[in-house]
């Protein structure tokens, strides 16, 4: 086994492929950009990821089309498939790749979600993963039976109870009940297989679960919460955490923080993988990549998109603001963010006035227009460079405990991962830090996780 200069064994890197999402990272105007809904796009990205021996394919989900200023947001990709359905179909055209879906714990019920994940795990021979997301907002609730029923402060409580309830359902079958012995006529060895009863603040359910134990026992659990509560939830329950801290310092701090929370749940470091989301721009040389990255950022932040970003912080209509002029001179409207709906990122602006002051100071120091400022604060790709540069950077970050790998977010659908698969992955394999072949069949095995 190779070792780092400090003498530690070199960590193996984990990589995931994020299907390009419904935000401005995805450049739909690129001439190479294909459909976001045609199944062939999903097949292309998943098969590219599998060819490159990635750990998993990742699909996000949002249950209401985003709005801004009371209208459906039309500048980004809009529209996506049903998560479970497209993952089950991808299981037919891949063999080893993990299949991770984002499923909401607020607008679903444990019995149904558990049988969907257990079914997906059977149908993929042990490759299912669940990115557990919480929401509470009445805006999304308008598409569902119960509406906006959940108080914000209960969203993690419901999410954790929901998750643990599904575990009770998965565990209601031990795995040896189906004997299907034609001669003796015994199909089930246990007449009570699947029996469960759960009563808590959020659920009061009992009966029998329909799906015999699946290859992984239960799906791999991913979590993306960043708040203190979210990190605690991940430390208690998740197998991997999907963070947005992709730089060395922020990554190391986050990594140490969440791994440090594991012990109190009786868990060890290897049981929670830290996988920041990361964008990338490859070039033949670093200079070439930098030039391309600049073009991509301008595509991602059009003048109109820049105004929409400003509105999300300023919380008011800025449709007459000049994107090529300075930032608004007045402070953001304080209070509930009413401009942007269905967008988790607006909650990141915890102190909009302070953020606006930082932005203004930055814009003045660097002489940036409104659009240039937005590019500066939102658009920088994590990895920019030649394949050699990017491979080195990824390996360095992982060996420095800034992460255990990355969830790569291409900016073009569906071919945006092709070059990475062809050029960066072989370099990581040469370094001995990324698998050359799959050694296991299940996602748990790829991630080095224990079987529950």
């Amino acid at each position: 086994m190779t070792v780092t200069p400090e003498g530690k064994p070199r960590k193996q890197i984990h990589l995931a492929a994020h299907f390009p999402g419904v935000n401005n990272t995805t450049v739909w105007s690129d001439p190479a950009a294909g459909s976001h809904i045609d199944f062939r796009s999903f097949v292309h990205l998943a098969q590219t990821a599998e060819r490159a021996k990635f750990d998993l394919f990742f699909l996000a989900e949002g249950l209401r089309l985003r709005e801004q200023g009371g209208e459906i947001y039309d500048l980004d990709v809009v529209g996506r498939p049903d998560t479970f359905t497209v993952l089950a179909a991808l299981a037919a055209v891949t063999d080893r790749l993990g299949l991770a879906g984002t499923i909401n714990s607020t607008f679903n019920e444990p019995y149904e979600v558990a049988r969907q994940f257990a079914s997906l795990d059977h149908l993929s021979d042990g490759r299912a993963a669940w990115n557990v997301v919480t929401s509470w907002d009445a805006f999304t609730g308008e598409n569902f039976r119960r509406g906006g029923f959940l108080p914000q402060e209960q969203r993690y409580s419901r999410a954790e109870t929901f998750l643990r309830t599904t575990w009770e359902l998965f565990d209601s079958w031990k795995g040896d009940e189906v004997v299907a012995d034609k001669d003796t006529g015994t199909f089930l060895s246990d007449p009570a297989a699947g029996t469960f009863a759960h009563r808590s603040e959020h659920f009061d359910i009992s009966g029998r679960f329909t799906v015999p134990r699946s290859p992984q026992g239960r799906p791999v659990i991913l979590q993306a919460g960043d708040s203190d509560e979210g990190r605690e939830f991940a430390a208690a329950t998740a197998d991997a955490i999907f963070s947005r801290h992709g730089t060395l310092e922020a990554g190391q701090a986050f990594y140490a923080d969440v791994k440090g929370r594991l012990a109190k749940y009786g868990r060890q470091d290897h049981q929670l993988k830290v996988l920041p989301a990361a964008t990338f721009v490859l070039g033949d040389t670093d200079a070439d990549a930098a030039e391309k990255a600049d073009v991509v950022r301008k595509q991602q932040v059009s003048p109109a998109t820049a105004i929409k970003f400003l509105e999300q912080l300023w919380n008011t209509d800025l449709s007459t603001h000049d994107p090529d002029g300075p930032l608004p001179a007045f402070d953001p409207v304080v209070g509930e963010n009413t401009v942007a709906k269905g967008r988790a990122s607006v909650r990141m602006h915890r102190d909009p006035v302070a953020t606006a002051h930082e932005w203004r100071a930055l814009a003045e120091a660097k002489g940036l227009t409104s659009r240039e400022l937005i590019i500066e604060v939102t658009g920088r790709q994590n990895f920019i460079g030649s394949a050699e540069t990017i491979a080195t950077r990824i390996d360095d970050l992982v060996q420095a405990d800034a992460s255990d790998g990355f969830i790569l977010v291409p900016h073009v659908t569906p071919g945006g991962l092709d070059e990475f698969a062809d050029t960066v992955v072989p370099l990581l394999q040469e370094r001995g830090v990324f698998r050359a072949e799959y050694t296991g069949t299940t996602l748990r095995e790829h991630l080095g996780l224990d079987q529950p």
Partner: protein
Amino acid sequence: MTTPDPGPHLAVALDGAGWHPAAWREPLARPDELFSARYWTDLVREAQSAALDFVTFEDTLALQRGGSPEATDRVRGRLDAVLIAARVAPLTMGIGLVPTVVTTHTEPFHISKAIATLDYVSTGRAGVRVRVGRPHEYPHFGRRDPEEDRDSLFTEAADYVEVVRRLWDSWEDDAEIRDAATGRFVDRDRLHYIDFEGAAFSVKGPSITPRPPQGQPLVTALAHAEIPFRFAAGSTDLAYVTPTDRSDAERIVARLNGLPHVFADLVVFLDDKPGAAADRLARLDETAGRAYASDAHVFTGTPAELADLLLDWHAAGLTGFRLRPGAIPDDLTAITRGLVPELRARGAFRSGYEADTLRGLLGLPRPANRYATA
């Protein structure tokens, strides 16, 4: 001039190892593979090899209870039907895929996008069979009273299908414009709130999933009596019914005369040798310890005899049949390799797929979008 009748449509209802409770013990049965993708892919490909219109996948949000809830000599356990259909879709062509969903305990928003996505991954071969909740499913959700009025479940199911259909139409076909000049990916004027308000739920829309390839995937339901008939007539494209004989079929067809398709469900036990199928059913009954009973007519006989019956009932107005194989694979292959060639020899079944979509196979046009103004 009249065009010759092309004969009845044919679907197969897939459930476990077949519809007879002892089917899983037959020599060719694969009861230890019921939870594998390979099993379901093999069955659908077998149906596809005979150019059948579609297959349905049974489902309940509860464990099977045949025999008794504690019986250990029956098949127990099931995977989610929508996901089985999706898993099979990329590996099949031509054949329609129609999973069962339960309206009472699920979200119309989720099911609408799931079936739309099944339509995308199958490139236009998706349908759905809807049914209302059964009492023993209720405790698994814990949100509703199992004693609630059964009739009102059908009223709610009608609302449910209305929401599912509106959501499918909530994107106009040309909503995605990718207009570089204005930077707009969609034309928001071609996306529609559905603003459904019903007694059981309200749904705002639009769907997160663009309008599926067929526009409106096929909606189907099984109906045995007046209230389900009313639901089927008002909400579906195709009803499965359970006539006991030809005159019963005529009566039911008259009741559902507004529907494009009425299929009779039949449980079938088939054998080329006269009398052999009845003997096999008797043997299966003996294994199960009781005589097989069904809501649908139980047919035993040769493929030629079944062809006679199907053509006779088809002449009574049924547009097709959903055959429930008594045992799988025996009765499935008897349908694909015995019945279908027999019908073809009589000029009463297609020789291959003649349409790319399930609606197309059933002679249904791609419907206009209810929200399109142009």
